[in-house]
Symmetry: C2
Subunit: 518 residues, 2 copies
Amino acid sequence: MKHTHYVTAAALLGAAVAAIPAHGDSRARDLQRAATAHYEAQYRSILDEYAQLVEIPNHASDRTGIERNLAELERMLARRGFRTQRLEAPEASPALYGELERAASRPTLVFYAHYDGQPVGTSGWKTPPFEPTLDRNGTQSPLRGALAAMPRVPEDAWRIYGRSTADDKAPIIAMLAALDALRGRGEPLAVNLKVFLEGEEEIGSPHLARIVREHADLLTADLLLFADGPRHQSGRPQVVLGVRGVQSAQITLFGPARALHSGHYGSWAVNPAARLGDLLASLRAPDGRVKIAGFYEAVDQKLADRGVVADESLERELLKELRLSRRENVDQPLARTVAWPSLNIVGLKSGDTGPAARNAIPVEATANLDFRLVPRQTPGGVQQQLQNHLTMLGYRVVGTREAAEAAPDRDRLALVQWDRAGYSGARFTEDAPPVRALIDLMRELHGGELVVAPILGGSLPLALFAENSPVSAVVVLPIANYDNNQHAPNENLTLGSLRYGIGTFAAILGGWRVTADD
Amino acid sequence: MKHTHYVTAAALLGAAVAAIPAHGDSRARDLQRAATAHYEAQYRSILDEYAQLVEIPNHASDRTGIERNLAELERMLARRGFRTQRLEAPEASPALYGELERAASRPTLVFYAHYDGQPVGTSGWKTPPFEPTLDRNGTQSPLRGALAAMPRVPEDAWRIYGRSTADDKAPIIAMLAALDALRGRGEPLAVNLKVFLEGEEEIGSPHLARIVREHADLLTADLLLFADGPRHQSGRPQVVLGVRGVQSAQITLFGPARALHSGHYGSWAVNPAARLGDLLASLRAPDGRVKIAGFYEAVDQKLADRGVVADESLERELLKELRLSRRENVDQPLARTVAWPSLNIVGLKSGDTGPAARNAIPVEATANLDFRLVPRQTPGGVQQQLQNHLTMLGYRVVGTREAAEAAPDRDRLALVQWDRAGYSGARFTEDAPPVRALIDLMRELHGGELVVAPILGGSLPLALFAENSPVSAVVVLPIANYDNNQHAPNENLTLGSLRYGIGTFAAILGGWRVTADD
């Protein structure tokens, strides 16, 4: 069958995947259609529940917000008959575990999502990040007010703006609506459903290993379904079989103990901003290649390049949309770039810029770095490599602000503050029967439209599950539009993505079956 | 005579120059002593007038603050019998000109100071910048309240904190108090006194050339006395015969049109923060040497090195105080560093750092640069050199934010925003009779303690006077303590500096005499 609905990224901005064709009849497709009908009938109450969840601030450091999220999620799960349990660790923002009644005859699925979100940052939001806002092709209004006055089913291209609208509250809402849709039609579930809602994913899952280890028994399952990340840039449905790991750091270099007039003392007193420029240039080649010694040593090149499929025309569309004439390394397509480890600079600060700029040598200069890791690269290994790099450049490295303040000599002093958490990358095989069954089901729904990607560039703590629990089969199934501004200001979800999520999850919950000879 | 009062920088923190010995009797020393006595009797009213002036915000872009400063200065000058006149230009913060009655028999002195100040920046102040605060060896209280309760003459080591306490409102107050001291004793002035108070020095004097040119007749004089800058780091009295010029710029490089998830798109989409690191590393060697082609071409090496006297033990003390084990270029003493042109990075900003940091590729990255120029180096020349440098690196350069926003391609796009103003360095000979007379008078006051420096590292718009008016003889006479935190948070003046300024200016106004064969 010819797939006439293949469209480019630019054409798909927000158009989502509502137009995916049905490939004849099957139980999965039937359930998908039923769930879509449920969405079209119940969009007001679905979006109302969504708004209620998005309105609650959810950075992992915000204890009040985290508690309110937990209470709201517990109510939402309890309403659907889940028994819930908070999985705690000292200082941790708890994970919320829930399960429905089990039957031995059914395979077991753990549904993972996270309810915490990225910081909102200091600027750039066009709408308040915790006041979900509906955008109807450019016209914006508060979602709740708009709902009351909404005469018809929302268009798929409309968007809802707000922190975590996509990452990662959308899958939670979609999964619960899918469950409601199945029950509304009296459809039995094909699976024993467990949910695992993490509360610290966006700060690097610092307590996840411990929580998973201590509650490994709860996680006995045939498959871990990771509902996070964006769909493919083409807008096509996507499943992903691996992720990169992550380790973030903040590096601060020092100048004189007090800011000095740049005329009287410039080029005499060490300039920490200039030093930082030199350091950054030493870490990374202009094409993005990491220059830290040993950085690529642990990479299994064959694994990294396995399954990589470049789509140059899609990339051209993406670059155009981003107003960039070329990618950082012109020879490296996106699909391959994200299969290799990377280092990126995500923040810089020294002195002041703009109208507040003063002609003074700053006292310090800071850069925030983000390492993305592949399997066999460990956070500890990368930390050691950066430490060696700084030592080679003549820096003395300290790990706390207090140690830096106490140092008698600020020359060649580097304060390196590692993110509390980090984890390796992880990749899973598509040969395991539960994985194969899920891919088959997705193919049944979407035919050749489906993208089966070997790895996601972003990081999800898959390695922490694989290393600390019985989980051995994992599929990442993203529902959000690729242009959701994840981690950035103006995060959003297209309504077509929500519709897609509800239909897809309903088909899985009602239709996923694993046979040993699959 | 042996000068027993030479002390190191560290020992002199705030101790100022009150202990300078008197070298026998002379009219100049007599007037200096009389003015010091005036200060000791009238410190309450002098500091009250000072507080009143420092309380008024004075960034050149603050039209309300500038108008209030002008009105206050006009009142202060009128009280002393000056005829005043605002020297205006379109969009300019006016200069204030004032003169006393002239007599043909006396030489004429133009006293220059500026009443505008640096921005206060976004952080770092321990006391409110426009609420002058008295620090009595560590105990701080609002200056005005402290004055009422002050039982005795303030100690020389005490400090007054606030923006422009030193740079450059202190000389204005000291000059007026000196005038009051002379008049209180019935001493005739030895000079025709003109004052020129600039309102845009800290933004690079963008309209000064025009104002000076249009009012050149007012500036007919034997000497321009530039009362700005800090005293020598040793705490010794200092006169300076030249300054570096200045040209500031802000450079912004661009990444994707919207912030992108650093996992999904890092090392694929251009990272502007990494690009900025590369650019900074290309501009400046680790030892501070500027790598822009042609940057040193206009430098007259013989002139640059003329009169340079290094003081290594003083530098060691200074470095220790700044908690730096060595200077940027270990082979280059401070006195020589400031006689050559320089480039410094004074600000950096991209994405967010600290708790607000997000794992996202920033949309842009900004650096603020500060060029210091020597004679024959022009702002236009340096602008062209930086433009050439960026072009060589493959950047397309635009000059306005609008042009950058309109650019279809953000790759290798550089927005360079030059400060509205800039000027060349300038150096004057000490052989001109009016200059020689002033140095002689200062030697009479201070003997071998006096430092005659060939050049100040900081910038003052001397070149704009030299190029646009009859002024040909200039001496810079700073009164502020060297550690006044000029241009930085917590700017301050030691009270010993104020006492020094009043005594020195009284000696000059009452005792300066120029003879042709000087």
